[in-house]
């Protein structure tokens, strides 16, 4: 057995070990297939793909109109009581990185300053999207399920449109921000570390689901249930 094949088997076995109970069967299915892939490189690619199953946690589909209304109440409660975390963190990063660019006392070279400037711009973009994400419409005062269903659907449409439009580059901006921060780090002279970190960020971006699709999925759920008279 070649090293590549052994590595592929090891990755697939590790994915099975670490899979959540509801994903275990799928991880095992992926792992078994490795033995039937003739090309070692393709087997390795297949095994690396199996890691994604570990992060697969599809939300339980909404079952009926009462569950949609409950999801609407939870959504509103969450948004009301949790501060806009992304906006706050990124706003601080705009300030922080901006200072590093403009302050003459900041001991970094041109590459570092460019890194911090890119990080500041990316952070500004992320802060704007984070702020718009947190702007929830007024919650219904009515206790009626129908009002909450309408509220929930409108919020999902708003978020889908946000991430399909202005926020479409959200994942890319996170990647750019991380990469730029790394370039900005003073004294970092180990190119391989940079490459590793960039690869890690790309891996994270690959794992993260596209927000617009996620919200569209929820809209489809709601529409489907409403079309069927409130029961899935």
């Amino acid at each position: 057995m070649t090293i590549l094949r052994r590595l592929a088997m090891r990755i697939a076995e590790e994915a099975v070990e670490r899979a959540k109970p509801r994903c275990k069967e799928w991880a095992e299915g992926l792992e078994r297939e490795v033995a039937f892939i003739e090309s070692d490189w393709r087997a390795l690619g297949w095994a690396i793909g199996s890691v994604r199953v570990l992060f697969q946690n599809p939300p339980k589909p909404l079952g009926n109109s009462a569950e949609i209304a409950r999801a609407g109440r939870l959504f509103a409660g969450w948004r009301e009581h949790v501060p806009p975390v992304i906006f706050l963190i990124m706003a601080m990063q705009v300030f922080n990185n901006g200072l590093r660019v403009v302050l003459p006392t900041c001991r970094t070279g041109p590459l570092g300053r460019a890194g911090f400037a890119i990080a500041a711009v990316s952070a500004a973009y992320l802060a704007v999207v984070g702020w718009m994400d947190s702007r929830m419409r007024e919650r219904p005062e009515d206790m009626d399920d129908g009002a909450w269903i309408e509220f929930y659907r409108l919020e999902m449409v708003r978020l889908r449109d946000l991430y399909a439009g202005l926020g479409a580059l959200f994942s890319a901006a996170i990647f750019l921000f991380c990469a730029a921060e790394i370039f900005g780090l003073e004294g970092l002279t180990l190119p391989y570390l940079t490459v590793c970190m960039i690869a890690f960020c790309m891996f994270l971006a690959w794992l993260s689901p596209r927000p617009a699709e996620r919200f569209q999925q929820k809209i489809d759920d709601v529409d489907s249930i409403l079309r069927q008279g409130g029961e899935a």
């Binding site: 299915g29 033995a35 690396i48 793909g49 994604r52 599809p58 489809d220 899935a232």
Partner: protein, 104 residues
Amino acid sequence: MNLKMRRSPQTLLVLGEFLADEQAWRYGYDISRATGLKSGTLYPILMRLAEYRLLETSWETAVEGRPPRHMYKLTEDGLRYARAQVAREPFALAGEPAFEGVGL
């Protein structure tokens, strides 16, 4: 019938592949080769289809010297759903599978 699945081009490819032989149990790697989808894309789709009870899964009967494989087939609901979706988007299946013609 539950019609809540999201219709991405990749999902349509997978549904189209199952429709090629509706009653056959299919292996993950075979579907991957036929559709050109990588495991990291294919399996989340299969998992979601199963979540909506559009796909059934089974383990192959063990054969000596060979590990049993996980197999997949559309349920009756899944077949109806797949036919409806593929009929709505026939052009989505016109693309060439990425692995076609590649010797393995």
